[in-house]
Amino acid sequence: MKIFKTYKTVVIAGALLLASCAHEDQPKESQLDFTTPAKTELDNWIGTNFLNPFNINVYYEWNQNLVDNNRYLYPPMVDKVQPAMEVVKKIWIDSYTTIGGADFVKKIAPREFVLVGGVNLNTNGTVTLGLAEAGQRVSLFQVDNLNRKSRASITQFIHTIQHEYVHILNQTKPFDEQAWAKLTPSGYTTSWYVEPIATSRSLGFITSYARLNIYEDFAETAATILTSSKAEYDAILASITDANAKANIKAKEALVVKYYKDSFNIDFYTLRDEAQKNTDAVINN
């Protein structure tokens, strides 16, 4: 017991000794820079129109983490940003909001738009107009080239957004992939870019890019209808002489209409008409 007592004293002394060593600097305030960067008028506009109402941020200043660093791209001209995003707001957000309900875009939307001024040219000579990544981010290229007075320019630009948004909708609720895959199974090809659009249409595809796979096919079919007036779309169908091809495109159209109705309770044609009305409003103002 005596030994134990002696050791007990030593142990307590030792514990005290160790504890006394635990003297370290306490953390102070963060060393990271948390000051809010100065906001420009454009930043405030983005805040009012996208960030606050829809929780969507718009990146127009360069951040290499948001873009493919192997590509030779550059930021858009600052004075092109607001006009481009006004088009996005009017034709895409406003159309879906009117038809799908005030909260539709708030619930399902990319959270980030990345704007790029230059052309995203691929080494095979094709041009990438837009990218949708994981349903979270949509990158739009060639913002510098957008001409609001030209219907062709607006249609191409909005087609990119409509196309990418259809992907995001598909990622939320899948479409009937099995039914789709049965329609034109042999027409899909990775070298879609060498195919003339007329050939693709005679095989039952609305565009050549639609021939990459069924997901692009769905997005292209939906986006083409949304960016065309009824008359324009009818003209496309009328230009197809192959009866089977025409029937396949119409069957795809029916699947798109059904998908919007069943998944989101949206009448696809009403949405198309609203988008067209808003497109006219953009071009005429």
């Binding site: 030994i3 060593c21 200043e61 360069w62 030779y72 230059g118 052309v119 040219l121 080494t123």
Partner: protein, 453 residues
């Protein structure tokens, strides 16, 4: 006893622990500050440095001096994240805009501190995928960056490394003279680029103090890069020049080594329209224009069939050869001048060389205009290796007619008093016919034809 041993062992272990815990925590610090402090310190240091120069900074940006030249950029950084910038970049349409534009910049912190030009300005012109100076740079533009990693300072200069290919880039303090001088680069760049009336060929003439050797200088004005190829047969020597410009001339980042001397500064001499780099002891390198092809050949002899031999014919056919790269700008200009004048468009310009030293130049058209022929005599200039065509008469195949004013300007180039160079080219266009070009000896006119025999 057993318990005692256990305690003893425990105590030894405990003592070891105790001693170990007292080992000095004072590690020799490699740095005075921790990583965060150092990064934010570097961030502030770089920003302060950029703002410190009253007239901003100058950088001659060589994106890749193995295949491209350099572009001069001037930057003036402003306190609120704004930057004024100017450059001597040559646009797609050949225009050079040296005006100053404002955009934003940022000092970003990642693994290290970098300067990023976050909104569009002149420097971004170098990284436009859709504007590339050579076929090899498809989708890569001019290989430019606009994010530069801060590497340090040296003699008052700021050293960066570029983002994608880690090349060094030096920012030198700019002076008011630098800003005033920038527009002065434009006439120099235009002088080396030339226009449609500039002679077709460039020569790099190298004098080593005793002898002069000529090199066929192939220069790409967009890339600002040229290579001089030896004209001696069997010699494969070549010299690369990666040029940037200043109001006095050109500077090559790749020095031209002659007799141990490194020539880099080519001064423009407007009197001779040449760029001259002068060394010591008579060493000199000159870039100059010439209408005479660097390699003269006997190809012209095909236009001189011997008496009794069949005639030879060479034809420019608009449908196939309008986009031939060997048609000179002046040739295209003159053809377009005819095409734009009326409904008649040039269909063919065709030479038929007879065996009696005469030629019929046929001009045929689409759009309803009748074919006309210009007959001329052909004289050989064996010294300069040219043929000289001299007017005889105009006819329409059956009767003599007056000269056709529509084709006058083009026809005048073919009647060049100094003659025409005739060259058999090594490439084919659409068909298997041999391609021959006819070039004016005293103008930059050159037309591409198919040989019909």
């Amino acid at each position: 006893m057993k318990v005692k041993y256990i305690y003893k062992c425990l105590m030894i272990a405990f003592a070891a622990l105790l001693l170990g815990s007292c080992s000095s925590p004072e590690v020799d610090a490699k740095f005075d500050q921790n990583a965060t402090d150092r990064l934010s310190g570097r961030q502030k240091e770089l920003n302060d440095l950029l703002l410190s120069s009253a007239d901003g900074w100058k950088a001659v940006y060589y994106t890749d001096s193995t295949q491209l030249g350099g572009w001069t950029h001037l930057f003036k950084f402003l306190p609120d994240g704004k930057v004024n910038m100017a450059s001597d970049f040559t646009g797609k349409d050949g225009s050079i805009d040296t005006k100053t534009y404002q955009s934003q910049y940022d000092i970003q912190v990642g693994s290290t501190v970098s300067l990023v030009f976050t909104t569009q300005n002149r420097i971004h012109l170098l990284s436009d995928a859709s504007n590339y100076p050579t076929a090899a740079l498809l989708a890569k533009g001019y290989l430019g960056d606009f994010q530069f990693y801060y590497y340090g300072q040296k003699n008052g200069d700021i050293i960066f490394r570029t983002n994608r290919n880690s090349h060094f880039l030096r920012f030198v303090k700019a002076t008011p003279k630098d800003w005033a001088d920038l527009p002065g680069n434009v006439p120099i760049i235009k002088a080396i680029t030339g226009d449609m009336n500039s002679p077709l060929f460039r020569i790099l003439e190298i004098n080593d103090g005793t002898t002069t050797k000529n090199y066929d200088f192939s220069y790409n004005p967009s890339a600002r890069f040229g290579t001089g190829y030896s004209l001696e047969s069997g010699v494969n020597t070549s010299y690369d020049l990666a040029l940037s410009f200043n109001p006095l001339g050109a500077y090559s980042k790749l020095p031209l080594e002659v007799k141990g001397q490194k020539l880099t500064d080519y001064v423009y001499d407007s009197a001779t329209n040449a760029f001259v780099a002068t060394g010591k002891d008579g060493v000199k390198a000159t870039i100059k224009y010439t209408n005479a092809p660097p390699r003269l050949t006997d190809d012209y002899k095909v236009t001189l069939p011997a008496a009794g031999a069949p005639s030879t014919a060479y034809g420019y056919i608009a449908a196939n050869l309008a986009n031939a790269p060997t048609n000179s700008q002046l040739c295209n200009y003159l053809l377009n001048e005819i095409n734009n004048a009326s409904a008649a468009k040039v269909n063919r310009v065709q030479f038929t060389f007879y065996n009696n030293r005469t030629v019929d130049i046929m001009y045929s058209f689409t759009g309803g205009k009748a074919t006309v022929y210009h007959r001329a005599t052909v004289t050989e200039d064996a010294v300069n290796k040219t043929i000289i065509l001299k007017h005889s008469l105009w006819h329409n195949g059956t009767a003599v007619i007056a000269a056709d004013p529509l084709v006058k300007n083009l026809d005048d180039k073919l009647m060049d008093p100094k003659g025409l160079y005739v060259t058999k080219e090594s490439f084919r266009i659409t068909y298997s016919n041999t391609i021959y070009t006819f070039a004016g000896a005293s103008s930059s006119f050159r037309i591409t034809t198919y040989a019909f025999q």
